[in-house]
Symmetry: C2
Subunit: 408 residues, 2 copies
């Protein structure tokens, strides 16, 4: 099944090289496709690493190893296999990952704990060791490539390559951040795992890098959903080479830490939103802003309950300002809420305030707003100061077509 | 939009009269439809009542009042309004319910706390008091009707009338249980709230009636899902008139209590499954049996995570034995699980055991099973003795058509 480019796609941005980061791709041939499907990123000595991983209790070997590896805080290489997720493959799957790690650490003369591996694609089929070995061999010898080549090579059912970039000034020196990501459904283990990688030439201590990534993740990757499903392989890794020559950032009080975090947040938000923009069958990008919640975390859970509601998502698909479905989703979120203080709006127009429909509610501007590609839903719970913004897409016939009519 | 009768529908069963229960219907005209939309059930003096209600934090006035009323344990009347849910209507909505309660309690010379009211239909529009008053007046004067008439009158987007019946022998005397229910999506506040009512001529103390209903609810109504959405109005009420003349059941040690509970469970299970069988767009009825969980409650949550997964539901719609999506759903459930002990099967054939695909897995019988209307998924977590069975339906283009293409 050939998937058409998402109508919500964004062009791939201009992205600068990051000192200490070298990208290469190769063809391992994990599937019968005519494209590179193995990505190899070589990282300068001394590169710090941080990572966030799926909370799935059935995570892949790659994720299990990554969770352990990230604790020591350093990385020299990343390998991403596309076309086979190696998930649910037991010991044989684990052996394939260990083979890749051994091969790369041997070539780079680094520790095995410094070689990170991700895989995405069909599950239940152990990653073929022979293809992996030949693919890694080819990647080690390949010419360096650009960001978009790498972004394409990690994709599976993605309909467009996804990248984001930002910069920050640390003292008088500029550092760059560049990232790419794959993912289209959110998130199916056999086709649409979210894998994201961000690189910077700033120098950041591993523990602080992890703290910043976890914080940024809470406000970005943890705030998106396409269908509420969670992959066994979801991974975001952040690498800091330190090759820009800026002073080491080790805590929030260090000069430039706030500026760096702001840039990181920008890259994470853009990457997260790009995944939603490639949501299976998506025709509309939906931003849901929740305010007045008991706490920020409560606001996020309310937002995700709305974002995951099939009834809300189908209403938006149909251009229907159905605030009743939003009330329903708020009610089921299991978070503090008071029906008589709840307000709901679309595109900046309140439809209901303090638990009652507005008597002079004019649906015309709302209907016009819902005709557009970008939809905004505002929800004010009216009980506190917690707030969060989450992003999702609509639920359309296209989603059913991709996931039901097409047999993997 | 005219909805076609669900392909999974069941014929309305033969249901006996229940001594002490008198059914009447009338036309209040809440919507411009040519049918009865107000149901009035008169109950003999001394009738016990129990109830379970939506956990929504944004419940309707009817639910808020019902939660309070059920505590005193007795009922003389039930009124169900179809076409207007009266949810999210603030004080004006509450006044309409109080008017109905006053009108009925006045006619029956009973306490206002003994008159139960439910409403289902569009939200955000206060129940029109004039129509309610005239409708109740007509219902009070109407000739008694049968179960199927009442089952039809409480329906909204239901495509078939839903009833269930069972009997138990208490000592040498037979008691009957009869129930009817409405609901098709699970569960939208503006169209498809689940409202269920069960009646028996057994004599049961209110506290024990409540205990049995709560227990049966855990294994039936709480084990179904169509789209994971929860209504602001979901209600199940159980009325015991005592008119069969059997001894009062007041606890599990009373003779016949187990037999009565078994019959109650049977009615609840059938009613719950009928709601799934009318799931919006449903083409297949899916039973998911989870075993080997840490606890029964954990098994249920895992089962519901599978049942609510759009990726699992679309796979079944497509006749695809995609056990990888089941692994994903188990992993995201947030319950204890071990990837390497997990087994998954379809229609009695294991596809994966102990965390790995079976080497001799024959997909042919599974593919044949998935062609049928009734699909069974078995999941063995392999870590404990907890088990649960949940029921859902597939996710099809029909669901999108009903909820997105149709504007309410």
């Amino acid at each position: 099944m050939d998937l058409e480019r998402s109508p919500l796609a964004r062009p791939f941005p201009q992205m600068p090289p990051i000192a200490g980061v070298t990208l290469r791709v190769a063809r391992a041939g994990y599937k019968a496709w005519d494209r590179a499907d193995l990505t190899f990123v070589e990282l300068a000595e001394g590169t710090s690493v941080a990572g966030v991983f799926t909370t799935s209790a059935c995570a892949s070997s790659e994720v299990e190893m990554g969770r352990e590896q990230v604790k020591q805080g350093h990385a020299r290489a990343l390998i991403v296999n596309a076309g086979n997720s190696n998930a649910f493959t037991g010991q044989r799957g684990r052996e394939a990952v260990e083979q890749i790690v051994g091969q790369v650490s041997g070539a780079l003369h680094c520790g095995s704990e410094e070689v990170f591996v991700s895989s995405t694609g069909v599950i239940g089929v152990p990653l073929p060791k022979d293809k992996a070995r030949a693919g890694v061999e080819a990647a080690l010898a390949a010419d360096p490539c650009g960001w978009e080549d790498a972004a394409r090579a990690i994709g599976t059912t993605d309909t467009f390559a996804k990248g984001a970039v930002a910069a920050a000034m640390l003292g008088g020196t500029r550092v760059d951040l560049a990232g790419f990501i794959k993912g289209s459904g959110m998130i199916a283990p056999d086709m649409a795992t979210m894998l994201g990688y961000i690189f910077t030439d700033a120098a950041v201590a591993p523990a602080f890098l992890q703290e910043m990534l976890a914080k940024a993740n809470d406000a970005t990757f943890s705030c998106i959903t396409v269908d509420g499903d969670t992959s066994t392989s979801d991974t975001v890794l952040l690498f800091a080479t330190g090759n820009a020559g800026t002073p080491l950032l080790a805590g929030w009080d260090d000069a430039g830490a706030d500026a760096f975090y702001a840039a990181l947040l920008e890259v994470c938000r853009e990457l997260a939103q790009l995944v939603v923009r490639d949501g299976e069958g998506a025709q509309k990008f939906i931003e849901i802003a929740v305010s007045g919640a008991a706490e920020d975390s409560s606001a996020r859970r309310v937002g995700l309950a709305i974002a995951n509601s099939p009834l809300v998502k189908t209403a938006i698909a149909g251009g229907d300002a159905n605030w009743g479905r939003v009330v329903m989703a708020v009610g089921k979120a299991g978070e503090p809420a008071d029906r008589d203080r709840l307000s709901i709006g679309f595109g900046g127009t309140w439809a209901a305030r303090d638990g009652q429909p507005l008597p002079d509610y004019d649906e015309a501007p709302v209907a016009k707003h819902l005709e557009g590609e970008d939809v905004r839903i505002d929800v004010d719970l009216g009980i506190g100061s917690g707030r969060a913004t989450v992003w999702t897409c609509d639920l359309t016939h296209g989603y059913i077509a991709i996931n039901a009519d097409y047999r993997s």
